[in-house]
């Protein structure tokens, strides 16, 4: 547009302003020139300096000759300095000032100081109202920008939408727009009455938080009173190890804990198997026992049930809301915190932006060597030692699993084979390891790939962002996989200045398949191969628990083979699930009149899907069902089959989920006291509906090709004298229905007030009513509300001079939020239910019953939060500290009720829970040189929770078993408390002993009471956080993100089996024991060397001793603390000159590796993420490390 440097003659000032406005309206995403400037000048004319800067940076200077004549010469020496710093020095003392534009610096005269005296008679200047909007470089509105009319000091602040109005100012003068972290901008008023201002972030690599979103409003972080946190979106985007949105946030937000490992998946509704899962997350500790503790996910202002239907690549921004002031507007769903997600929006700039991003993530196969199970030699040796044909006579095992090694031992015992033969056979088993076959035959290499192509662009009237993505994921279970396609189309219309419409459309479809693959690991018999040397699948009929004699009899009479080969079974079952997600979110913003506007948000989510589950008649279970309903008294008789002998069992389910949200609000926003204050008021109403249904039909003898099926002629009767004895033939209920509908209606109000720019007050109020059937409506009139204040101390006069301090503010908030019980958990009446039964009952239909329980009310959480935000040393070090105290009352939970009532357990408001904690987040730019920079961010959270009281006496408190078992709470303790026995070694019989509270040593079971248990800690980590480091050297950057969880405990994975036969089972592939068992007590005297109890074959074991004295003993409780480098990324960004040649705006390539356990406190090699912390059982990690490559290109 301009030459490199332009000297303008005598321009009319108005013309320049008009030009400026044109430039300002030219919005572009291209980042500010960031080239370093090197100058070494002594008393050089200003024009020479301009030329040099222009030459080095490509920046144009707009300046008139007139101005230059007044300028002073400049002395300056800088090396690789940034433009704003240079300009500050260049213009120091000059009679000129300047404005930085995208690629130009506009030079202006400084205004002469106003005359000290004015003639009262002088003509008053014409006065006018100006208004406008302030946006950032991305085109997002900027609330809270302060606008000062330079001459008079009249001030205004932009509202939530970035709009401002200033009344009664002279036409002649300048407006100064200022905002922390952004370059000040000065604009002449002149004849212009409406401004569109783009503020450019000051050149600083330290990413600070500017705008936070509650889902109801966007607030400038500088004036927000609540506890808001934002993750580093660069790290979020780079985490290609997972497509799960919650997992990508791990370690990036203080107080947000992502659960890993066992039971960490937020389950989908089992009735609506639409594949919507997410990693479980908690914000600031668990504030409920029985209700969900997962945060509420909000996308573009609308609550979403299945967050992972969104493509992470489409996410622009995430805000995590933690305290009451931030969350209370979400009312009865706010207690667990809220994660607000904003999707990518249109970029207005008159040209199209096209981007591609893609990755391939490779996880490989499960880490089978992680479990410390016995090898075959150890296993066979152990089996020989404990073989007991007297306790377990062979003839009593006709329906029991007899593993090959046992068969040999029984054969030897009965004399069928000689001892030498038996030893040879056992030795050959002892030399086999099946781990290689398990790895090769049961698992595939897990990998995920994702490709996203996006296009955005538009003008002020219309703009859009659209993306298309393909994701393919393949888990390690053989034969499983999922493919999904997603499209997002976000549009914004601004037909008039008063009206803005947005429409966000997301469409996703996915198809998943799975078969009958099983989780086989080293817990299975270690010698049992799955294929022989010829590659044929090995039969393992013994695993089904029929002796060869019984099996042969069944087979002969039914003429149905009952062989069983696990590998063959894999393909006898196919499950195909397909899902569609349609998500529409629209909004309306209509300016009614001065400061008052109407905002509407509307969302509809529709997720239809179906699941086709086909089990072939070759499947063992179906064959066995058929045999059980076949009448054939003798092998010679013609079998009569009551079930089909071909086809398969086919279950077709169709399900649908449909949710909608309607929110209407009125917003009033106005400056007060001549712009010194700002008031923002909102009131609104919201209605929601959640609907889900499923119908599922079962067909027997279904032929997939011909689509025919079998209609049983005989149903619902007992068929005597079948091959297996006698059986009931089902039938009746072929189709099942499930339907659930919930409705909610809410009213809310919001207030924000800023006083003198430095004192801010936020308030919110909301009441929720839901269609909780059978509950008392008056119990729902519990409003959620909050109040918060913030003092921006840095803006006080006494700190204005403190240059080292860039920001300092303190916050304090208090509020009540809720957590509502599941529908129907508390009722005013007994609720009659439709029971599920497979066979129609003998006496016909009936109704089940849920007992009346009218003593339930909602959980309420009162949260107090204090926070400090600061930033020092030119914003190179910044951070926040938050201290909170959350008290939850009327805690819902499952309580034991008096069994004489007819029920053992029910929901109750069992008491009070407190969560206290402190959170710290720090960001720093440690080193910054021309080619190298190092920045860090660290966050840390400490949470202490405590169950304060119960309203009912809990018998659990008196029961040793429930306290040791899965008791997740106890008065006076942290949640997830772990109790154990004070272990006192083994007695002379090899039975474990404990120390009782009275100091005596006991080995007799049943003697102990709860008072004899010792508290060992909690299984939920009190300390958690993350540390991220980013190193940049020229075009390369290296990032490492570490997470840590500290201070919790777990049970070590000791052997649990000390009784019964050591063999395989029909239900799952197990049978092996941990190597601990090798070191068990075997003979008197061993108690001096080992703590591991003896083996005792019979059930006497349960009454003569208690092996849980050992397994639940305090010696087996270890620290579960650990730190992991979750991911390491190496990124290469193509340099600018190359990009220009390629005509590409930006391009980067990255590689990533994940999951490096850097430290654990336990010495047993347990990765706490893959250990059942309470039960002390290791699980097989799905992979050891994952590796991915990623590329991002923008055209």
């Amino acid at each position: 547009m301009y030459k490199k440097y332009i000297t303008i003659g005598r321009f009319h000032p108005g013309y320049i302003t008009t030009l400026l406005v044109i430039i300002l309206l030219h919005i572009s995403m291209a980042s500010f020139a960031q080239k370093g400037i090197t100058l070494d000048e002594k008393k050089s004319p200003l024009i020479k300096i301009f030329k040099k800067i222009s030459a080095q940076t490509g920046i144009d200077f707009l300046v008139t000759n007139n101005m230059l004549t007044d300028a002073y010469p400049v002395t300056i020496k800088v090396t690789n300095a940034q433009l704003p710093d240079v300009l500050i020095r260049v213009f120091k003392g000059q009679p000129l000032t300047y404005i930085i534009r995208k690629d130009a610096v506009v030079v202006q005269r400084k205004q002469a100081p106003p005359a000290t005296t004015t003639t009262p008679l002088s003509q008053p200047l014409p006065r006018k109202e100006v208004k406008g909007k302030v946006v950032n470089e991305s085109g997002q509105p900027m609330p809270g920008v302060s606008i000062t009319f330079q001459d008079t000091g009249i001030q205004a602040i932009t509202d939530a939408n970035g709009n401002f109005v200033i009344q009664e100012i002279p036409e002649d003068g300048f407006l100064v727009f200022s905002y922390i972290g952004y370059a000040k901008q000065t604009v002449a008023v002149n004849n212009v009455s409406e401004f569109m201002i783009t503020l450019v972030a000051e050149v600083s690599k330290l990413k600070g938080v500017t705008i936070v979103s509650t889902g109801y409003q966007n607030i400038d972080k500088a004036r927000a009173t609540g506890s808001f946190a934002k993750p580093d979106m660069e790290v979020f985007k780079s985490r290609t190890g997972t497509m799960d949105i919650a997992s990508r946030l791990e370690g990036l937000v203080p107080g947000l804990a992502i659960k890993k490992g066992l039971n960490s998946i937020l389950d989908e509704n089992p009735n609506i198997p639409n594949g919507k899962t997410a990693q479980k997350a908690t914000i600031r500790g668990e504030s409920s026992i029985s209700l969900s503790t997962d945060p509420l996910y909000v996308v573009d202002g609308v609550p979403i049930t299945g967050i992972n239907q969104f493509n992470p690549d489409d996410i622009e921004d995430i805000t995590v809301l933690k305290d009451a002031a931030a969350t209370a507007i979400w009312g009865a769903r706010a207690t667990n915190g809220v994660i607000v997600i904003t999707t990518k929006k249109a970029l207005k700039g008159g040209r199209l932006n096209i981007s591609y991003s893609g990755f391939l993530n490779f996880e490989g196969k499960p880490d089978l060597k992680y479990l410390k199970t016995m090898n075959s030699a150890q296993y066979i040796q152990t089996a020989k030692e404990i073989f007991n044909p007297v306790q377990f006579p062979y003839q009593s095992l006709s329906y029991g699993v007899i593993a090959p090694h046992e068969q040999i031992l029984y054969d030897k015992y009965s004399g069928k084979i000689t001892a030498a033969q038996a030893d040879r056979s056992l030795d050959s088993l002892a030399s086999i390891s099946n781990l290689g076959q398990i790895r090769d035959l049961w698992y595939q290499n897990a990998m995920t790939q994702n490709h996203t192509l996006s296009v955005s662009g538009g003008s002020n009237l219309y703009s859009f962002y659209t993306s298309a993505a393909y994701t393919s994921s393949r888990p390690s279970a053989i034969g499983q996989g999922e493919k999904s396609y997603r499209i997002m189309f976000n549009q914004e219309y601004n037909p008039t200045e008063r009206l803005k419409l947005t429409l966000s459309t997301t469409l996703g479809t996915s198809a998943a398949k799975q078969n009958d693959s099983r989780n086989v690991s080293s817990t299975f018999l270690p010698y049992q191969l799955f294929q022989n040397a010829n590659g044929d699948n090995i039969s393992m009929a013994y695993l089904q628990g029929l002796s060869p004699a019984v099996r042969s009899d069944y087979e002969q009479r039914s003429r149905i083979g009952l062989d069983y080969s696990p590998l063959d079974e894999i393909n006898y079952k196919q499950i195909n699930t397909s899902n569609t997600h349609i998500n529409l979110a629209g909004s309306v913003q209509l300016k009614l009149f001065k400061g008052l506007s109407f905002n509407g948000n509307y969302g509809i989510q529709e997720s239809p899907g179906n699941r086709k589950d086909y089990t072939d008649h070759n499947n063992y279970r179906l064959r066995m069902n058929l045999v059980g309903l076949t009448v054939a008294p003798a092998p010679s008789s013609v079998p009569v089959y009551y079930l089909p002998t071909d086809g398969g069992t086919y279950v077709e389910s169709n399900f649908e989920e449909r949710n909608w949200t309607v929110r209407n609000q009125l917003v009033y926003s106005t400056p007060l006291r001549a712009g010194k204050d700002q008031l923002n008021l909102q009131i609104g109403q919201e209605a929601r509906e959640q609907f889900a249904r499923n119908s599922s039909t079962t067909f027997l003898g279904y032929d997939q090709q011909m689509m025919t099926y079998f209609t049983p002629t005989v149903t619902n009767v007992y068929i005597p004298n079948t091959v297996t004895g006698g059986n009931f033939i089902a039938g009746g209920r072929n189709t099942t229905f499930y339907e659930i509908k919930n409705r909610f209606t809410s009213y809310f109000a919001l207030l924000n007030y800023s006083f003198n720019e430095r004192y801010n007050l936020d308030g919110s109020w909301r009441v929720d009513h839901s269609a909780l059937f059978g509950s008392d409506k008056s119990a729902q009139n519990k409003p959620a509300w909050s109040l918060g204040g913030k003092w921006n101390i840095k803006k006080e006069n006494f700190l204005k001079a403190a240059d080292w301090l860039n920001e300092l503010s303190v916050r304090a908030t208090y509020g009540i939020t809720g957590n509502s019980p599941y529908a129907g958990s508390g009722t005013q009446w007994d609720i009659l239910t439709t029971p599920y039964f497979y066979n129609p009952p003998l006496a016909g239909n009936y109704l089940g019953l849920l007992p009346k329980n009218d003593r339930l009310s909602w959980e309420a959480t009162a949260t107090t939060n204090f926070g400090i935000d600061f930033s020092i040393l030119k914003s190179r070090l910044g951070g926040s500290i938050d201290i909170y105290n959350k008290n939850t009352t009327d805690l819902l939970g499952e309580v034991n009720v008096n069994p004489l009532t007819g029920f053992s357990r029910t929901q109750g408001n069992i008491g009070k829970l407190s969560n206290k904690g402190i959170e710290l987040s720090l960001r720093s730019l440690n080193i910054q040189t021309k080619n190298f920079s190092w920045s860090s961010s660290f966050n840390f959270a400490y949470n202490k929770n405590m169950l304060v009281s119960y309203s009912q006496v809990d018998p659990r408190a008196n029961n040793v078993y429930s306290r040791l078992g899965n008791s997740s709470y106890l008065v006076g303790y942290r949640l997830q408390p772990m109790f154990s026995y004070a272990y006192a070694g083994l007695n002379a019989q090899g039975n474990p002993m404990i120390k009782l509270a009275n100091g005596s040593i006991n080995s007799t079971p049943g003697v102990e009471t709860v008072g004899d248990l010792v508290y060992s800690g909690t299984t939920s980590p009190p300390y958690s956080g993350g540390l991220s480091n980013m190193f940049t050297y020229k075009a390369f950057s290296l990032g490492a993100n570490m997470i840590f969880n500290l201070g919790h405990v777990m049970r070590a994975d000791v052997n649990q089996t000390y009784t019964g036969r050591i063999t395989a089972s029909t239900s799952s592939f197990d049978g092996n024991l941990t190597t601990d068992f090798l070191n068990r007590w075997k003979k008197p005297g061993d108690e001096k060397f080992t703590n591991i109890p003896s083996y005792m074959p019979g059930f006497d074991s349960y009454f003569t001793r208690n092996v849980t004295y050992y397994t639940n003993g305090d010696i087996n409780v270890v620290s579960a603390s650990y730190a992991k480098i979750r991911d390491i990324n190496l990124t290469f960004k193509l340099p600018d000159n190359l990009l220009r040649k390629l005509k590409v705006k930006s391009a980067s390539f990255a590689i990533q590796a994940t999951n490096f356990l850097v430290w654990t406190a336990n010495k047993k090699g347990i990765d706490p993420e893959y250990n059942d912390l309470n039960a002390g059982v290791r699980t097989v990690p799905p992979f050891r490390h994952s590796y991915s490559i990623r590329t991002n290109i923008t055209f």
């Binding site: 003839q395 329906y399 109403q685 004895g725 006698g726 269609a771 029920f903 018998p955 078993y961 059930f1099």
Partner: protein, 466 residues
């Protein structure tokens, strides 16, 4: 959108009744509650089955039977480890809740006729009596008029309230009093025949009331009830009838063929319930592993007794039971009111009230349906009242062995002067099936079970049985 806004503001926006749920309001709703399977398919095992002395144990299998079965067979003090719940009793307490709900609510609704409401209420009251009778026979001492007023029984629960506390054990006498008054109140309004055989009827309630009196030693009162019950049955269209085993086991008979799991008879197939006045079945599979019939029990049968067909000398897995021992095929026991039971109880009441001829007629009616008529008569040597009484008790064993009924007889006879000499023991046979490897003696204190631990924990003031 405006439309949506308006919808959401409508008053009934929140008034939705979820699918699959309702609040009882009609007679039909209450009626369907009484159809609950928990009332008639007690799918959980009652360990007292293992306590009858007609049983013995076969060590090979029994040593690996469930711990509770082993402990019950040994008449141990503690049957359950603390982590185990007594599901059988919990199920009865749930049934009690449903009964109390119906009793207290059904007459307040306006749906149906007053007669229908009264009949349903009567059914719930009579069912409550049946539950209480079952509970007191587990947790209260056998009824002894001299001590019943001070013997601790079981709490009488007449309220359906999940938040109720402050339960106390009523005396055995109070509980029996409640059972009697409930049955008396119910009989007036009960229908002659229930809507299904699992539902209470007037003859069933009279049979139960007679049984209660019999257990209390009030034989004349018992006889009145039994006679009334038979009179009621005579007026019922298609009344319960006995299977004639001579036909059922003849070629093409109802109980044939006899497969690996035994005949197709009521003990295996609850569709075959023509002998039931009130059908209630309990699962035996959980308590029968390793249990066999004591040889003395098998000796009670004559060779021609067709009830022998209910026993086999193979384990459930078709392996032979050593030593020629037998086990019962039955997978269900019948714990309601059966026609055979009613006949034998009336026979007993008739003997007790000196009507020996009448008693003989009842016995022979049953026996002629169980074996060839030629062998069905009461043996000639049995003439005295006491001998006939003993014969009836033996006949009860022959009819109900292995199904838990005998344990109830053992309990009540322990306070009957006629049988006070009886002592009981259990034998476990070693792997050869002949050698007795272990003998257990029943101590009288164990006629009464200890209370479930969960009940004691929830009611701290409650004393357990010794």
């Amino acid at each position: 959108m405006l439309v949506l806004f308006l919808i959401s503001c409508k008053k009934d926006f929140l008034e939705i009744v979820p699918k699959g749920k309702l609040v009882a309001s009609t007679l039909k709703d209450y009626d369907l509650l009484m159809n609950n399977t928990s009332f008639y398919r007690l799918d959980v095992s009652d360990v007292t089955v293992a306590m009858g002395d007609e049983l013995a144990a076969e060590q090979n299998y029994f040593q690996n039977a469930g711990p509770e079965t082993q402990k019950a067979f040994a008449w141990a003090d503690v049957l359950y480890t603390p982590d185990r719940e007594v599901i059988y009793t919990n199920n009865q307490l749930l049934n009690l809740y449903i009964c109390n709900k119906i009793i207290n609510e059904v007459t307040t609704i306006s749906n149906g006729t007053a007669e229908q409401r009264a009949a349903l209420q009567a059914e719930a009251i009579a069912t409550r009596a049946w539950i209480n009778f079952d509970l007191i026979n587990h947790y209260g001492k056998p009824y002894d008029e001299t001590t019943a007023a001070s013997d601790p029984g079981f709490p009488i629960i007449k309220e359906a309230n999940i938040n109720a506390t402050n339960f106390k054990r009523n005396s055995v006498k109070e509980v029996y009093g409640q059972i009697i008054s409930d049955l008396q109140a119910a009989i007036v309004n009960l229908p002659l025949k229930g809507s299904f055989v699992t539902r209470m009827s007037r003859p069933a309630a009279r049979g139960l009331l007679g049984k209660v009196y019999l257990f209390m030693g009030r034989y004349q009162d018992a006889l009145t009830q039994f006679n009334d019950a038979f009179n009621d049955l005579a007026n019922v269209a298609s009344p319960p009838t006995l299977y004639n085993y001579n036909d059922a086991f003849a070629a093409g008979g109802d109980f044939l063929p006899i497969g690996f799991s035994g005949p197709d008879y009521p003990g295996n197939n609850y569709s075959k319930n023509q002998e039931s006045i009130l059908l209630k079945t309990a699962d035996l599979s959980g308590v029968s592993y390793g249990l066999v019939m004591a040889p003395e029990t098998m000796d009670l049968y004559t060779d021609s007794d067709l009830r022998r067909n209910f026993y086999g000398n193979m384990h459930s897995d078709h392996t032979p039971i050593p030593g020629g021992l037998y086990r019962k095929y039955a997978t269900y026991s019948h714990v309601g009111i059966e026609l055979a039971d009613l006949l034998l109880m009336r026979a007993e009441a008739r003997v007790r009230t000196d009507d020996l001829a009448g008693a003989r007629a009842d016995i022979e009616l049953l026996r002629s349906n169980r074996m060839p008529p030629a062998d069905a008569g009461v043996p000639a040597g049995i003439t005295s009242k006491t001998d006939l009484l003993k014969f009836i008790i033996d006949e009860r064993t022959r009819e109900f062995a292995g199904e838990g009924q005998h344990w109830l007889d053992m309990r009540r006879l322990s306070v009957d002067p006629v049988f006070s000499f009886l002592t009981y023991s259990h034998k476990a046979y070693a792997a050869d099936g002949v050698t007795v490897s272990q003998t257990y003696q029943l101590r009288p204190v164990r006629f009464t079970l200890r209370l479930p631990l969960a009940i004691l924990q929830a009611n701290p003031g409650m004393t357990d049985n010794p």
